[in-house]
C-alpha cells in the first residue's frame, strides 16, 4: 500500500510505502545496539549533570543528535542567560554542521520526496539514515519510506533508551571495551567501497581520482590534531569537495 499514490496521474515524486518504512527499520538494525548504549550514556550523563528526566527526554526527542547532546552537558547551566543559551546553541550548530554537507550530498534523493513529507522527514535526518540512504539509493532504490522508516526507528529508540540510561546510569559498563564507539565509524568506512564508483564517475583515473579523498583525509587529520572540537569533519570534507571542484574531469559523468 502506498501513502502517496495517485493512480491516474503518477507524481514525479518518490513513493513512500509501508514496505519501504519496514525496510528502513531493517537496514538500521545493525546500528541499534551501539545507538542504544550511546543514548543510554547520554541519559546517564544528563542525570549526573543535573537535568531532570523530562529535560533529558526532551533533549533526545527535540535535539536528537548524540554528540551534540553529550557535549551540551558540559555547557549545561542551572540558571540560563541569553548568553549561555546562545553559546550552547552555537556549539550544537558546530557539531551538527556536518549534516549540512550530508544533506547536500543526499539532495538528489531528498528532492524527490513528496513536498509535504520533505521538510518534516528531515527532522529525522541523522548520520545513520544518511549512510543507509546513500547506500540504498546508490543500489537503485527509490522508496523514500526507507529514509523515514530508518529515521523513525532511530528516533523512537533514542528517546526511549534515554530513560533507563537516566535512571540506571551507573549500571552501564564501559562501552569502549565492546567497541560500541566504533560501530558508526565502521559502517562509514565500509561505505567507501560502493562510493568509489561515484568517484570514478568523474572520469579521472587512478591517483587523480583519489586526490579529493586524500585531501579530505589529510585535512581532517591535521585539523583534528591542532584544534579541539568537531570542526575537522566539516573542514576536511569541504576541502575534499573543493579539490574535486577545482580539478579537471567530470565532463564524462
Amino acid at each position: 500500500m502506498s501513502l502517496s499514490a495517485s493512480p491516474q496521474n503518477p507524481p514525479p515524486y518518490a513513493p513512500i510505502t509501508w514496505r519501504g518504512l519496514w525496510t528502513g527499520l531493517r537496514l538500521v538494525l545493525p546500528l541499534l545496539p551501539g545507538i542504544s548504549v550511546f543514548g543510554a550514556a547520554f541519559g546517564a550523563g544528563a542525570a549526573h549533570t543535573g537535568l531532570t528526566l523530562a529535560e533529558a527526554v526532551l533533549s533526545s526527542g527535540l535535539v536528537f543528535a548524540g554528540a551534540a547532546q553529550l557535549v551540551s552537558l558540559a555547557l549545561w547551566q542551572q540558571d540560563w542567560t541569553l548568553a549561555s543559551i546562545l553559546a550552547i546553541t552555537l556549539v550544537v550548530f558546530a557539531i551538527n554542521a556536518r549534516m549540512i554537507l550530508m544533506g547536500a550530498a543526499l539532495h538528489h534523493w531528498i528532492k524527490t520526496a513528496p513536498p509535504r513529507w520533505r521538510w518534516i522527514s528531515l527532522f529525522l535526518f541523522t548520520d545513520a539514515n544518511w549512510i543507509v540512504g546513500m547506500r540504498y539509493h546508490a543500489d537503485g532504490g527509490r522508496d523514500y519510506g526507507i529514509f523515514i522508516g530508518a529515521g523513525l526507528t532511530l528516533w523512537s529508540l533514542w528517546v526511549v533508551v534515554t530513560i533507563p540510561g537516566y535512571l540506571l546510569g551507573s549500571l552501564i559498563g564501559d562501552p569502549h571495551v565492546w567497541a560500541l564507539d566504533m560501530i558508526m565509524p565502521m559502517i562509514f568506512v565500509t561505505m567507501l567501497v560502493p562510493l568509489w564508483n561515484s568517484l570514478s564517475a568523474t572520469g579521472r583515473s587512478g591517483f587523480l581520482a583519489l586526490m579529493p579523498w586524500g585531501v579530505a583525509a589529510l585535512t581532517g587529520l591535521a585539523i583534528h590534531a591542532t584544534w579541539d572540537g568537531y570542526s575537522f569533519i566539516v573542514i576536511g570534507a569541504l576541502s575534499g569537495a573543493l579539490t574535486s571542484a577545482l580539478m579537471p574531469g567530470g565532463e564524462r559523468a
Binding site: P30, T52, L53, A54, E55, S59, V63, S72, D79, W80, I85, T89, L90, V92, N96, A97, R98, M99, L101, M102, G103, A105, H107, I110, K111, W119, L122, F123, V177, W178, D181, I183, P185, M186, I187, F188, V189, T190, M191, L192, V193, L195, L199, P212, A216, A217, G220, I223, F232, I233, V234, G236, A237, L238, A241, T243, S244, A245, E251, A253
Partner: protein, 105 residues
C-alpha cells in the same frame, strides 16, 4: 519523584534553541542545493563529497580510538573490498577491535 518530570523554563528555552540549531543543520544543505544553480564544478564537488565526509570523520576518530580502532577500520574495509557484504565487514571490524582491546591495545 515529581522532580523528575519538571522542566525548568530556562532549560526549555535552551533545548528549543538547540533543537532549532540541529534542524537548521538537517535542512540547510538540502535547502542550499535547491537554490544553487547546477554547474560542472558543483557536480564534481558533490561527487567527492560523501567520501570526503566519511574520510574526514573516520580517520580522526580512528586515531582517537587508538591502535585497536585503526586496525578494526582497516579490517572492515578489507573485508568489504573482498566480500562486498557490509554485515561481514562490520562483524569482522568489530571482532578485531574487541579482541585487541581485550588484550590491552
Amino acid at each position: 519523584m515529581s522532580a523528575l518530570f519538571t522542566v525548568h523554563g530556562g532549560a526549555f528555552l535552551a533545548l528549543c534553541s538547540m533543537a532549532l540549531a540541529s534542524y537548521l543543520c538537517r535542512v540547510g544543505g538540502v535547502w542550499l542545493m535547491d537554490h544553487l544553480p547546477p554547474s560542472p564544478p558543483l557536480k564534481r564537488a558533490l561527487q567527492a563529497l560523501p567520501g570526503s565526509i566519511i574520510l574526514a570523520t573516520v580517520l580522526p576518530l580512528g586515531m582517537k580510538g587508538g591502535v585497536s580502532a585503526l586496525c578494526g577500520l582497516a579490517a572492515a574495509l578489507l573485508m568489504m573490498i573482498l566480500t562486498r557484504k557490509d554485515l561481514a565487514a562490520l562483524s569482522c571490524g568489530m571482532i578485531v577491535v574487541i579482541a585487541l582491546r581485550q588484550w590491552g591495545f
